[in-house]
């Protein structure tokens, strides 16, 4: 199970991921900063995984209720975020493009 990883291991993942993020994001040109924000925003909806775990394995009613509320909010974040980013990016055209 994931929890056998131990704190240091997941801390390592956290720190390395920040560096990867730094490298990747600095290459995004200003022209695409708005889609970058809405797209990365959709990725931050990854909490949806936590919400599924809370609802799916919750043994206490309150856990399931809180999990459900989180699930709805996070899904709004994910679906809305990716969709609006797609809508925006499709508008970026170069003359001569179809």
């Amino acid at each position: 199970m994931a929890e056998s990883l131990g704190f240091v291991n997941i801390l390592t993942i956290f720190v390395l991921a920040i560096f990867v993020g730094n490298e990747v994001i600095t290459k995004v040109p200003p022209i695409l900063h708005t889609p970058l924000m809405s797209g990365s925003n959709a990725i931050s909806g990854i909490t949806v995984i936590g919400a599924i775990l809370a609802v799916g394995t919750g043994r206490e009613t309150l856990t399931v209720v809180l999990g459900m509320a989180a699930l709805v909010c996070a899904t709004i974040n994910v679906v809305g975020g990716f969709l609006v980013t797609h809508r925006m990016l499709r508008k970026f055209k170069k003359r001569g493009d179809a």
Binding site: A2, I10, F14, A17, I18, F19, V20, G21, V24, I25, K27, V28, P29, P30, I31, L32, H33, T34, L36, M37, S38, G39, N41, I43, S44, G45, I46, T47, I49, G50, I52, L53, A54, V55, G56, T57, G58, R59, E60, L62, T63, V64, V65, L66, A70, C73, A74, T75, I76, N77, V79, G80, L83, V84, R87, L89, K91, F92, K93, K94
Partner: protein, 481 residues
């Protein structure tokens, strides 16, 4: 192979898709595909989680996701591009509150399991229940961070949304003792955070922590003015990622940590870019205004007798004989909804062989990159949209620069080392072009509240009108000229 290994490998694939997707955003050509890769990664992570052992109540989960998907889709499809900052702000908030709720849900389960174990019951297995078995320090500290960052993100985003939507005043809300109040609330929040860590069994502490964090979010954002919103939205974007990462530490879940920290890094980078473009520190944006009184110089001295007013016909004549024209759009263009006539005029001029480009300041609009989206929506080719450094090199070869709805970002005062609120801010050097046409309703000041010597410059012509009307007139006059 054990099921946990399979799901963790699937999470790894999802993480790779997220990173490759963000990499795709480095060029408009690959950006659509990049976004789709991110979406596929998310779908993969969700499906794998659903297939994990011990997941029950599928109906409930699908119901919740369906409801969320529906609401999210409606938002995403109905929103106008001008309102994009509000929407992204709101989505940040949803991400933040989800982290608060998940951490709270897991903490509650852990506390209940703890008392059950104490009573001699068998500890559960799988998913949240196992993690919840023994609340160690990682668990409690991460829970406190999830609650804190998530709550600040949610309520900060709600206020930011309100400000951008015009429900809450755009002006910074300042009051005596403001900084003291903020520090006190911060201290109270930290105190509750420490109590959550020391005594996780007292679950009410977690909710007090979230409430204090919420208040902190409101106080922080309400004190910030409309022009600084690009920075706030970028910062909240970062927080929503960090909140997700913190929830990842609560659950010891790799994909939450990776995805959350990617977004956290992204938001921080954008925040830095915006601060640099305003020549301000983040602390100054968040806590600024301490004793900073903007003195309004006597406008009469700067403008008296030097401002030249022009007409659409005259500008059309000048444009006709130009070889290179640059538009400098500001948020005022979006407010006036003048994008369409801008595109029409661009097309007309290009037909006459005039080179047309757009100079876009990093803080133009209400969020990073906002102006580019508004122009792309008008089908203006993205290779004409130039960043500040690129366009600044070309102004000396530019015959006419049309400033539309921008003010502080073209104010030459910014070049002076000190003495004004915008000193040192990088600007678009429009005054170096042969002729500058400024379309503006009056000589009124921009957000910085200071006069702009550009309006009185020798090579500047003022076209006093509403942005949309002026552009419509200009299109008509150009056709006739």
């Amino acid at each position: 192979m054990n099921a946990a290994v399979v799901s963790n490998i699937a999470y790894l694939v999802a993480a790779v898709l997220f990173i490759a997707g963000l990499k795709g955003l480095s060029h408009p050509r690959s950006a659509v595909r990049g976004n789709l890769m991110g979406a596929v990664g998310m779908l993969l992570a969700i499906v794998v989680t659903l297939l994990q052992q011990g997941i029950m109540s599928f109906e409930l989960i699908l119901l919740g996701m369906l409801a969320g998907a529906l609401v999210g889709a409606v938002f995403a499809l109905k929103i106008q591009m001008t309102a994009m900052p509000q929407l992204v702000g709101l989505f940040n908030g949803f991400g933040g509150i989800a982290s608060v709720l998940v951490a709270g849900a897991v903490l509650y389960q852990a506390v209940m399991a703890m008392s059950a174990t104490a009573a001699g019951a068998a500890a559960g297995t799988g998913g949240v229940a196992t993690v919840a078995g023994a609340p160690d320090l990682q668990f409690t500290i991460a829970t406190a961070f999830s609650g804190l960052i998530g709550a600040v993100t949610f309520f900060g985003s709600v206020i930011a949304f309100g400000k951008l939507q015009g429900i809450v005043t755009e002006k910074p809300v300042r009051y005596p003792g403001e900084q003291v109040v903020k520090v006190l609330v911060l201290l109270v929040t930290i105190a509750f955070g420490v109590m959550v860590v020391l005594d996780p069994a007292q679950i009410s502490n977690y909710w007090y922590l979230s409430a204090a964090g919420s208040l902190l979010g409101v106080l922080l954002v309400i004190a910030i003015g409309g022009a600084d919103m690009p920075i706030v939205i970028a910062l909240l974007n970062s927080y929503s990622g960090l909140a997700a990462a913190a929830t990842g530490f609560v659950l010891s879940n790799n994909i939450l940590i990776i995805a959350g920290s990617l977004v956290g890094a992204s938001g921080i980078i954008l925040t830095q870019i915006m601060c640099k473009a305003m020549n301000r520190s983040l602390a100054n944006v968040l806590f600024g205004g301490v004793g900073a009184v903007v003195e309004s110089a006597a406008q009469g001295d700067i403008y008296a007798g030097k401002v030249k007013s022009t007409s659409a016909e005259e500008v059309a004549m000048i444009l006709k004989s130009a070889q290179r024209v640059v538009f400098v759009p500001g948020y005022g263009m979006a407010v006036a909804r003048a994008q369409t006539p801008v595109r029409l005029l661009t097309e007309l001029m290009e037909k006459d062989g005039i080179e047309v480009e757009f100079g876009i300041h990093p803080v133009a609009g209400r969020m990073p990159g906002h102006m580019n989206v508004l122009l792309a929506e008008e089908n203006i080719s993205y290779d004409k949209l130039r960043e500040m450094d690129q366009i600044n090199a070309t102004f000396s070869n530019t015959d006419v620069t049309i400033v539309l709805g921008a003010n502080d970002v073209v104010n030459p005062i910014a070049r002076e080392a000190s003495g004004s609120p915008i000193s040192g801010m990088p600007i678009l050097d429009v005054d170096k072009s042969r002729t500058v046409v400024v379309i503006k309703r009056s000589l009124g000041a921009g957000f910085a509240g200071i006069p702009n010597p550009l309006f009185a410059a020798e090579n500047t012509l003022m076209l006093f009108a509403d942005g949309k009307k002026a552009m419509d007139d200009l299109v008509a006059a150009y056709k006739d000229a």
